[in-house]
């Protein structure tokens, strides 16, 4: 930690035990929060802003969090909601232009299978998923989370996560194959 940050962090740490515990838990979950925000916004600066805002909100509500062990999942959900709100507001303002307009012509199935499809097309398909399915897809792709971890983060049953992930993958497949040309059928 650099010198400028030391007094701030030192002050936070030197406060009540609540603050120490909060900082420890935040340190363990801040990267995950950033990645969740990044999964929605895909802009580093925006994702960091949202992660900061989520941390502040979490701090304000930390006293009222009954089960501190659920801080991680709580922070993830706060971050997800904030990131979605930010994305919606930016879309309303027209700041973020959808990159769909400049989409390339539909690639062939071979191109897609060979991994030459752009990330953009994949993310567009992810963005079109319903929110419940999208968060499962994003969390599954972060830090190698299995279904159990995703279920714990979302406070859902493992079977629910499994069915949602399956539905999401089906939709992704259908969406991505919509523009595929040259598919072979008998």
């Amino acid at each position: 930690m650099n010198e400028a940050a030391a007094p701030l962090a030192g002050r936070l740490v030197s406060d009540a035990p609540l603050d120490r515990e909060f900082e420890e838990r935040l340190a363990a979950a801040s990267t995950l929060a950033f990645r969740v925000a990044y999964g929605v916004l895909r802009q580093r600066e925006d994702a960091e802003d949202v992660a900061q805002e989520a941390a502040v909100r979490a701090y304000r509500g930390f006293t009222f969090l009954r089960n501190r062990e659920q801080f991680r999942s709580w922070l993830v959900r706060i971050t997800w909601r904030l990131a979605l709100d930010r994305r919606k507001s930016e879309r309303r303002r027209g700041v973020r232009e959808l990159k769909v307009s400049a989409a390339p012509p539909p690639p062939t199935a071979e191109e897609i299978a060979a991994g030459r499809q752009t990330e953009q097309r994949v993310w567009e398909a992810v963005d079109e998923l319903p929110e419940k399915l999208r968060i499962v897809v994003v969390l599954s792709a972060i830090e190698g989370h299995g279904m159990r971890e995703v279920a714990a983060l979302l406070g859902l049953a493992e079977g629910t996560v499994k069915s949602r992930l399956h539905a999401a993958r089906r939709r992704l497949l259908e969406r991505l194959q919509c523009g595929v040309s040259g598919t072979s059928r008998t």
């Binding site: 940050a5 936070l12 990645r35 994702a47 502040v56 299978a113 993310w123 089906r170 992704l172």
Partner: protein, 235 residues
């Protein structure tokens, strides 16, 4: 052989769902569908790869410092504003209490304990059918005598002031508001004789003559043939 009908099953199977026995049998004989299934699985594998690699992103080293800084700022702001927030809440409470007190003790046309309002409310029912009579509250100026039947409100009790009980309303024929007010004022200062029912110790029973008792002769009944009693008597 057309394979379109297996398209959905292929998608389900590629997405991790169960492969139906029908599809399984078809895949054994159809190389094109096997290829299509592998294609779908490869596409999903590619999606996983894109998402995983894209989200394996590290925040900038300054993020943690900025987060801590922002939380510290929020905390210091909260502590700075906490006394003000408490004072504001206290002031708001005081204002509410004062307003409630002022409303509860506002001047009103209030009849004596034995309510005359009840008597007036029993006034001709024809006046009650007038549409939406205006409300006269003690604080409002007198309306003209040509207006529709008015409603005079009694002074509000504390429960009414708190909004718990709705204030009863008295329908007054047009032009009779002043008469009612004079009547109530006279009852208060004793200048006007109170009606007999409003005097202390008066009871409604004193004014109702007891009705004569009517004797109802007992009905003489005979047991029906075949009834339970007759059966028992026969047995």
């Amino acid at each position: 052989m057309r394979c379109e009908r297996y398209e959905q099953d292929l998608t389900v199977g590629a997405a991790g769902g169960t492969i139906t026995p029908g599809l399984e049998a078809h895949l054994e004989v159809c190389a094109a569908c096997r290829e299509r299934l592998a294609e779908k699985q490869a596409l999903l594998g590619h999606v996983d790869q894109v998402l995983t690699s894209h989200l394996d992103v590290e925040p900038s080293p300054a993020l943690r410092r900025r987060v801590i800084s922002r939380v510290s700022r929020a905390e210091s702001e909260r502590r700075r504003l906490a006394p003000w927030a408490a004072a504001a809440a206290l002031a708001a409470g005081l204002v509410m209490a004062l307003l409630a007190g002022a409303f509860a003790h506002r001047p009103s046309v209030r009849p004596p304990e034995s309510s005359t309002a009840g008597m007036v409310s029993d006034a001709p029912a024809a006046t009650a059918v007038q549409p939406k009579p205006p409300v006269i509250s003690p604080s409002t100026p007198r309306a003209s005598a040509t207006a529709a039947p008015h409603v005079v409100r009694r002074g509000p009790s504390r429960a009414i002031a708190r909004g718990i009980v709705r204030e009863p309303e008295v329908l007054v024929p047009p032009g009779q508001e002043d008469a009612l007010r004079r009547f109530v004022a006279g009852l208060r200062d004793g200048s006007a004789p109170a009606p007999a029912l409003l005097r202390a110790g008066a009871s409604v029973e004193n004014f109702i003559a007891p009705s004569p008792l009517i004797e109802i002769p007992l009905l003489e009944t005979e047991p029906l043939a075949g009834s339970v009693d007759s059966k028992e008597s026969h047995s």
